[in-house]
């Protein structure tokens, strides 16, 4: 149960970082929408889970946040990627691609392919 959350949080964090990298500063709702658009139903029911992840990233220094005005002229907290966050994104993207590639190869291999 707990492990599942961790995995979810880990991937979520990576998605948040990537989103901020691509779109620039965004508020929580904006990030949620973007992730929803790309990932489909991952955040369909639990958009709220995003906020603990954002807080964690902020504590790690990967993102920073400031108050700003949203499109409907409400006060909203805008998150942006820091230098540290950019570095983290790079490292984690690499790690992720590596893992994905290995797992992918595992799934491609069939019994008759083995020597």
């Amino acid at each position: 149960m707990k492990q599942k959350t961790d995995v979810l949080q880990g991937t979520l964090a990576l998605m948040v970082l990537k989103t901020l990298d691509v779109l620039g500063p965004l508020h929580g709702y904006g990030i949620a929408r973007r992730i929803e658009q790309i990932s489909g139903d991952m955040l369909a029911v639990n958009q709220g889970t995003l906020y603990p992840v954002l807080l964690r990233l902020e504590q790690e220094g990967a993102v920073a946040s400031d108050w700003g005005a949203s499109e409907n002229n409400r006060r909203a907290r805008f998150y942006r990627l820091t230098k540290e966050g950019r570095r983290q994104l790079q490292v984690e993207t690499q790690g992720w691609e590596q893992t994905a590639a290995i797992i992918g190869r595992f799934f491609e291999v069939k019994a008759e392919d083995l020597p």
């Binding site: 508020h27 929580g28 709702y29 949620a32 369909a44 029911v45 639990n46 958009q47 709220g48 889970t49 906020y51 603990p52 807080l55 964690r56 504590q59 790690e60 220094g61 949203s70 499109e71 409907n72 409400r74 006060r75 909203a76 907290r77 983290q88």
Partner: protein, 885 residues
């Protein structure tokens, strides 16, 4: 790196907690508003749009929880909560809190005081640079620390293990800084003393080895900071001024830094003088006398890379050379190393043994306090079983409850430890400035340092965990269903519980302490009334040094005689005697003697090493020393007549076999002089009160002129005050420039009694603490058992039970435990008191008074402690009690 950064950010978060919650709330509201607008644009009704937005956001509370967990450190927040709750619980039962804190404060305080003394005198090295490599040299199998000056010179020049060796001696002089001669205590040191220790002057300069050019060549002194402050009002122009030491001019070279007070911890000297000027200071010169071991201590830093074992081997090879070269003077020249601060084993060994014993007792006190508090905690936990049951039933984990109990315990122990530490630091400070003996520069420099604080903190924490762990099993076994159904846990009946065991342990510890302190007090009382070999009551002492007033050669004995006759002429004076050094006054002088038949007078052939006193004819009368056989001296026993001696019984037995045959026989001194025994006196105490029977010889002062200071014993039945005035007048009439000190002999004996007095006092305090702890312990137990059984006792009374039966039911158990504990403690105490015998003279636990005293004390304690609970049990009104239920 990331996790470290995150940890700190979380650590500081609780402070900004409210702001963070506000921010989250605003973000959530904003988020849902944006989603609602989006839904509205998609064509939903406002209500539906908002509902869907909230659904999509998910559970707000669960998310908030998650957010908080991410935001702060759960552990720390729970801890803060626990502390707050513990604080509230203690505030709610102030009686319990005060008793617990006071108990711990006393126990921790006692421990930190004893540890403070142990730390300052035994553990902490001397306050000099690189103290770890500084060693003193002990000689022979009995670890003597005194050496002769020629031996010192050979050790210094022939050994290769030390950077250099310095030596010193403690002595007193008359110092005249202007127009008021006064006594002062000084360290006579070798010229290289300050250089060997690596001390830098505060003002002016120190003397060096290069200042010494033979006897009396270095008339310089270096002042201690305190003496400079007190006698020269911190005048910086003092360097170069000339003061008179025993009427000889000495130039002040400089002032030592405030933190350097010499190399003997318990002695606080006034200034330092080069040893080569010994003749001017002490009136005699032993710089070339190899057999006179007048240096108190020889010490130096080991060279880098030299181990103590190598140094000892090196010294021993020098020793072999000395034995061979000077067979007449040097025997047993094997060496060992020791820490110099307490003059090696001479002061160090008994002090170490005593402080270790005291530390053990203090530890026992703390243990008793923990047992006491453990009992209290267990009783409290039993009272709170309903609360625990409710909390368990509501889903709190047992670990959380235990952590809560532990927090309460540690909170109490920290508060108690803090109070105790504060008290002990104050006490140690007071001890450090205390001058216990007016006639001596004794000091107990025991300021608290970081070690003391750390030990107190650790002890507090450990004892906090100890006593709060007592109710753990009880809490873990709590069955919420049973407790809530029946009101309380069923009391364990006949079985021996942990609480009972703790009480027995506590009472036993208390009995050990009471036994030890009674043994010590009895020993002290006895040593006050024991046979010293003289009668101090009714004797005045005139402490004088004629040599310091310029008397020497022929003039010295003449003046001695004149003073004695003049004092004898004072009305009311019965007798006046002269002795070079009082018995029991900071040890005794020893000399080796040989039987008359011994031909080769080398130290190895010595028959005995008696204490030696030079006395005037009337000394025995004045001191009221009983003469068993033969005659005392007369003024005719002078240098022209044959050499004679009066010896004590022990000496006569040791040398001549039987005391009554000794008169008329001969023995020899190291220089070959034959001495005839003319009288036998009773045995006495010479070096210390605790010593076994010692041989002693008395020699006529006219045959063996004493150069050093001397004490005149004046026996009279007159009021000491009036007599003192008369003596002052008489002495001034003889020589206005003569410096002397007046005191009573009983007063002067304080120094000899000081160790036993201190031992008795500290043991008394510990005993009182132990007694107090057992009172509160038994009281707590008895009061608790009465309050628990109020209903049962009420029914018994209603059914017609007599007071005796009620008391037996209410207090029987407490009293049985008390008896068991006392008995165990008494037996242990008797075993422990063997240690005491080393310090307290005549301390023996096999003494009916001690045994009876302990039993009586424990019975009294039991009575006091159970008095109030017993009253309460007897005053139960069954009607009222039953109506309340």
């Amino acid at each position: 790196m990331r996790s470290v950064r995150r940890f700190f950010s979380r650590l500081i978060k609780p402070a900004t907690r409210r702001a963070q919650e506000e921010r989250l709330k605003e973000e959530i509201t904003g988020h849902i508003a944006l989603q609602t607008e989006e839904n509205l644009r998609a064509g939903l009704s406002p209500v539906e749009a908002r509902r869907r937005a909230m659904l999509k956001f998910g559970g707000v509370e669960a998310m908030k929880q998650d957010y908080r967990a991410t935001g702060g450190l759960m552990l720390i927040e729970n801890f803060v909560q626990d502390v707050r709750f513990a604080w509230r619980m203690l505030r709610k039962s102030p009686g319990f809190a005060v008793v617990a804190v006071a108990t711990l404060a006393f126990a921790i305080g006692a421990n930190s005081v004893v540890f403070g003394v142990l730390n300052a005198l035994i553990l902490r090295p001397l306050n000099v640079p690189h103290a770890r490599s500084l060693w003193g040299i002990e000689r022979g199998s009995d670890k003597a620390i005194n050496h002769s000056y020629p031996d010192y010179r050979d050790l210094r020049d022939r050994s290769r293990s030390f950077e250099d060796l310095a030596a010193y001696n403690v002595t007193s002089v008359t110092v005249d800084t202007g127009n008021n001669p006064a006594g002062a205590w000084i360290l006579e040191t070798t010229g290289n003393y300050f250089d060997v220790l690596g001390i830098q002057p505060y003002l002016g300069r120190f003397f060096h080895a290069s200042d010494e050019h033979g006897p009396n060549s270095a008339p310089y002194i270096v002042l201690t900071y305190v003496f400079w402050q007190n006698h020269f009002q911190s005048d910086r122009g003092v360097v170069g001024r000339v003061v008179q030491l025993d009427k000889h001019p000495f130039t002040i070279l400089g002032v030592a830094p405030a933190e350097f007070r010499g190399t003997l911890l318990i002695v606080n000297p006034d200034f330092w003088v080069p040893f080569v000027n010994q003749e001017q200071v002490e009136g005699e010169n032993v710089l070339e006398v190899r057999g006179h071991r007048g240096l108190l201590m020889v010490m130096g830093h080991l060279k880098a890379g030299v181990t103590p074992a190598q140094a000892v081997a090196d010294l021993n090879s020098v020793g072999t050379y000395l034995e061979k070269t000077y067979p007449k003077d040097d025997a047993q020249m094997t060496f060992s190393l020791t820490r110099p601060g307490l003059a090696g084993d001479w002061l160090g060994a008994p002090l170490r043994a005593f402080l270790a014993g005291l530390m053990l007792l203090a530890g026992l006190i703390l243990l008793a306090a923990c047992a006491n508090l453990g009992t209290l905690f267990a009783a409290r936990a039993a009272d709170r079983s309903r609360e625990f049951a409710v909390r368990l039933a509501l889903g709190s984990g047992p670990l959380r409850i235990l952590r809560q109990l532990l927090t309460e315990g540690v909170l109490i122990s920290l508060i108690g430890g803090g109070v105790g530490l504060w008290g002990s630091v104050e006490l140690l400070r007071a001890m450090s400035v205390w001058e216990p003996l007016p006639s001596a520069p004794l000091q107990i420099p025991v300021y608290a340092d970081a070690n003391v604080y750390i030990v107190a903190l650790v002890l507090s924490l450990v004892s906090g965990f100890l006593f709060s762990a007592v109710p753990v099993r009880q809490v873990l076994r709590t069955d919420p269903y049973q407790v809530i159904k029946s009101g309380s846990t069923a009391a364990a009946g006949g079985r021996i519980s942990v609480r009972d065991l703790l009480l027995v342990v506590q009472v036993a510890i208390c009995a050990v302490l009471v036994t030890s302190s009674l043994v010590a007090v009895r020993g002290l009382v006895r040593s006050l009334h024991s046979n010293f070999g003289f009668v101090p009551q009714g004797a005045l002492l005139v402490d004088t040094g004629l040599n310091t007033a310029g008397y020497a050669g022929e003039a010295l004995p003449a003046m001695q005689k004149r003073i004695i006759h003049a004092l004898e002429a004072i009305p009311g004076v019965q007798s006046v005697g002269w002795v070079d050094r009082l018995p029991l006054y900071y040890g005794s002088n020893g000399t080796i003697v040989f039987t008359d038949q011994t031909g080769d007078l080398k130290p190895a052939n010595a028959a005995a090493e008696p204490a030696v006193y030079q006395i005037s004819p009337e000394y025995f009368t004045a001191a009221q020393t009983t003469l068993f056989a033969g005659r005392p001296f007369s003024w005719h026993d002078d240098e022209k007549s044959p050499r004679v001696a009066v010896v004590n019984r022990e000496f006569a037995t040791k040398i001549f076999g039987a005391p009554n045959q000794a008169v008329g026989k001969y023995f020899k001194r190291a220089d070959g002089t034959r001495i005839q025994v003319v009288g036998i006196v009773e045995d006495g105490k010479y070096g210390s009160l605790a010593e076994d029977l010692q041989p002693a010889i008395f020699l006529p002062v006219l045959q063996w002129p004493s150069a050093g200071g001397a004490t005149i014993v004046v026996r009279s039945n007159r009021e000491p005050q009036q007599l003192g005035l008369a003596i002052k007048d008489t002495m001034h009439g003889l020589d206005p420039g003569l410096f002397f000190l007046l005191s009573t002999w009983t007063h002067e004996l304080e120094s000899a009694l000081f160790p036993s007095r201190m031992a008795t006092r500290s043991l008394g305090v510990l005993g009182a603490l132990g007694a107090m702890l057992s009172i509160t312990g038994i009281f707590g137990m008895a009061a608790y058992s009465v309050s628990k059984r109020l209903k049962e006792l009420g029914i018994r009374i209603a059914l017609g039970a007599q007071s005796k039966e009620v008391l037996r039911a209410a207090l029987g158990r407490a009293l049985r435990l008390l008896a068991a504990g006392s008995l165990t403690g008494l037996l242990l105490g008797i075993l422990a008191s063997r240690v005491l015998a080393a310090i307290v003279y005549q301390a023996t636990p096999r003494d009916p008074v001690v045994l009876g005293g302990v039993v009586l004390a424990m019975a009294l304690l039991g009575l006091v402690a159970t008095w109030i609970p017993a009253r309460r049990a007897l005053s139960i009104d069954p009607m009222k009690l039953l109506r309340e239920e």
